[in-house]
Amino acid sequence: MSDLLSLSPMLACAFTGLLVMALDLLTGTGRKPFLAWVTAAGFAVSGALALGLWQAPVALHAPFLSGVLAIDPHGAFFTGVILLSGVLAALLAADYLPEQGIDGGEVYSLLAFSVTGAILLVIATDLVTLFLGLEIMSLALYVLAAGKRASPFAAEAGIKYLLLGGVASAFLLMGVAFLYGATGSLDLAAIGRLLAAGGPGIDPLLVQGAMVLLIVALGFKVAAVPFHFWTPDVYEGAPTPVTAFMAGAVKAAAFAVLARVVLTLARAPVLAGLDVSTGDLLLGLSVLSMVVGNVLGIVQDNVKRILAYSSIAHAGYLLLGVWATQSLAGAPGVQTLNEAVPFYLLAYAIATVGAFGVLALLGRAGEEDLSLPRIAGLGRRHPALGAALLVSVLSLAGLPPLGGFLAKFHLFQQVLIAAPDRALPWVVLAVLASVVALYYYLRILLYAYFREPEDTPAQAIPGAAGTLALAAVVVLTLVLGVAPGRFLVASRSAAQAAVLSPSAVVAPAPATPTAADPSRVAGSPPVRPRLPEALNPRLRPLMPLPAPSPASRQTLVEPGAR
């Protein structure tokens, strides 16, 4: 299979973006919703290609692609989640944007570029390519977040997102630079092998610093406490379909990368035996996100902000899943992603897109104040929208028989199985946090169903595209809750593929790596030997540079172990 065909799902998205840009010029004013259908169709084609071509791991042949992109079930599953969120967001935007007086096709092409970046992000294994994917995804979103040019809230949302996203990118890059300094490679798989092998030339400080920097950077992107403070403002100020996309697709992509990076690096012996391990960091973020997200969610009055805090709390549950790694089948000693996490992200993404989607269809022009009293009586005034809100919010809350319940139950169960000796208190905390969350989820439904409408209740926008999207959300949420079999299997194979290059497992870490390591003595940076070239065939100097020291020529892993 040629490389172009292998990469066609991502290329189809990029092409969709370009096509929509061109069609935008030919489409007259007031007929732009047509472009939403083109975008959604492009995403659907891309998704069909991904389903067809990415079922099994695909090898890329071009030398500049191997070791840069990895097409495996992990990437395929999250590509599916991203594309699904993208389709739904495009359809919702078709109804929402004309109502808000945004008559431009650029929203759809930016959405397509953002999806392209997100797909690149989840299939990248080269750290610079990963950064490029993150930036392609984010740059388009910064513009989309500020899409309502007439609204001062939108400009503020765009600025906040850009600044904090920029800081997160800088932290990520510093982490990448540290890893490059420690290992001399930018290929995540090769770095994972080198670190697992634990050669003498690897500076533990650099690796530990890189781990912290990367967790901070990706913590921003998944909106984990204490890196969450941009989330409610950006979610509130951005156009609601864009918010739906951010809460669904961006979180899924960020979690895919977080899991892959952390799990691939975590096998490094230099990370073992620290006072604060990587797992402790993830657990701390998880607990903070669950507690702070749910408690602050209670005191909100704007439905968009309630859902933003709900999204923070869900990041907490998911981080608990990332923390509770499970062992890789057929490779004892290698930890991979908990098999419940991808499924949870799928169920969460559908439900949150649905909830924001209902809000998008309530946004009549100029009256986008979505405080709780304005949705009062929604269930009677617009029964279909009310039903979609009911299903989505109950799925987020985790009530049976919806997808969110099964995902949460499965997640907590798998966390307990993966870490039976340590997980119990944290799972109990997560269950308690879910109970607290019920308060604000049910509060939304209380207003929607049991309160009398006030003088100026929010009116629905009629529209075929948005109705179709919400119908799809309801059906998918029910299917995930009632017949999840195939999705659970896909989730499991995605999780098993999360950790890169497990084949090169090397001897376990020395017992006291930190105390005895002379390179940790402050003020005396160790002379780091050059890496064996066999480790990385792409690692060849293009120009004469300082001569390498002759030390450490032993091969750490078998060549071509990738």
Binding site: F131, E135, L139, V143, F153, G158, L173, A177, Y180, G181
Partner: protein, 102 residues
């Protein structure tokens, strides 16, 4: 030529990164904040270059070009957003851009 150890470059890079971080967090003028963001990225670039030289490898240098290109794109978006903010507020003061709270 006297050989400067790689750690010196990395320490300088970290100082630049720290200056940039403090700038982003404390300055209130959006343009200065964007500039601080650039300083952070330049710190990263210096670290990448130092490590590339240390390893005798060109990948790090190539990465620097990519980072520079992306940083330019980010600033382009940032300045466009600054104009959007200026149209609403009449200033690029971030303390004024706090309509949403909680």
């Amino acid at each position: 030529m006297m050989d400067v150890p790689v750690s010196w470059y990395v320490i300088l890079a970290l100082i630049l990164f720290g200056i940039g971080t403090v700038g982003v967090l404390t300055r209130r003028n959006l343009l200065v904040v964007l500039m601080s963001l650039e300083i952070m990225l330049n710190g990263v670039n210096l670290a990448l270059l130092a490590f590339a030289r240390h390893h005798g490898d060109a990948q790090g240098q190539a990465a620097v070009f990519i980072v520079m290109a992306v940083a330019a794109a980010e600033v382009a978006v940032g300045l466009a957003l600054a104009i959007a903010l200026f149209r609403h507020d009449g200033s690029v003061d971030l303390d004024r851009a706090t309509r949403m709270k909680g």
